[in-house]
Point group: C2
Amino acid sequence: MQVEGQAPPVTPARAPRADAVRNRKKILAAAGEQITAHGPEVGMDEIAAAAGVAVGTLYRHFPTKTDLVAAVVAAYVARVADDAETALGRVEAGARAVDELTAFLGRVVEASVTDRAVKAAAQTLGAEPGDRADEDRAGVAVAALIRAGQDAGDIHPDVTVSDIYLLFSTAPTDQPPAARARWLALVTPALTTWGRQAGN
Amino acid sequence: MQVEGQAPPVTPARAPRADAVRNRKKILAAAGEQITAHGPEVGMDEIAAAAGVAVGTLYRHFPTKTDLVAAVVAAYVARVADDAETALGRVEAGARAVDELTAFLGRVVEASVTDRAVKAAAQTLGAEPGDRADEDRAGVAVAALIRAGQDAGDIHPDVTVSDIYLLFSTAPTDQPPAARARWLALVTPALTTWGRQAGN
DNA sequence: CATCAATATGAACCTAGGTTCAGTATAGAC
DNA sequence: GTCTATACTGAACCTAGGTTCATATTGATG
């Protein structure tokens, strides 16, 4: 909500030092990698080591582990929002909404596999996204996709964004690829008007 | 698997003392309640207190916390197996297999809500059921239910026990009742031959 | 009832991992 | 080049929670 191009009146707050900016980036990158690879249980020590930085520096940038994880999660949510908006763009350019929606669902599930730890982290630590903007962006885009699919008569009229979230949140990300594929095949028809006929 | 009515040849192993038996029961009961109510993170201290016993006694009966949790999980699995077999019994008595199977699915999901912590415990601690017998019982019964439903033409021919497990494991047990109900409504038709038509 | 092995007790122990902070280095301003 | 606020370092601290073990009880046996 911070509008720029306007000198802050109180608290001059000089610009952060160059090395601080550099380190912050390294920390976020390392945290993302470590949490993705080894789960949210990775120690702060390990994240610090991966970032080539001391533990204390982690705490200079993020007052608590939860905050660090929240930052990583925020990046994840932003990526999902981007994906949803891109898919919506394709639909507006003529693509079928159902296809885009289910493909989007598939991509998110697959991404959640790599980022499974991130998701788990969010639940485990109760990390609150400091900024719901990206979450809202994703919601809006998905809603538009659903609407488009319903207008085209492909998506069941009572499907909502909540339904998509509900399915996302229950994706078996800790199962092998075959199981995930099977799950998608079982669940996807729940969204369409044509359901799942015998022999499908 | 221990057959009784037959004196153990080696290792006479006198019968356990009466109070030991009593305490073991109290511990299992208390552990079930505590884990169900407060999650698998409950301290051994709290479980011990709830059982009216000292921590050391917990460790006399269960060498490790994981073992205690495993015992609780085993009880849970046994209950599910009983449920599945009862449902199968009703089918053999003339009930429709699809109905029994979906009702069973619903019951397990609802039970998982109360026992959510138990499920979580199993994953978190990697608790291995010491005895797969009950798990097998459940699997056999569910397989029979599926088969019956397929013979009746109601359940999709390619549905397997794994599918049921897959759906069980992805049930949104941490969501409010309405969301759970919605989830069931979305997922159930994935099993049937008639899918989900518009207006359903 | 005497005896003892099984059992119970619970304070102390140990480890892991998040967090702190006094000391040191350095970017940026003058 | 000097100076200082900002940033970095990493050993030490602290807490939580699982586990142990010396000591006290108690059920069973003869």
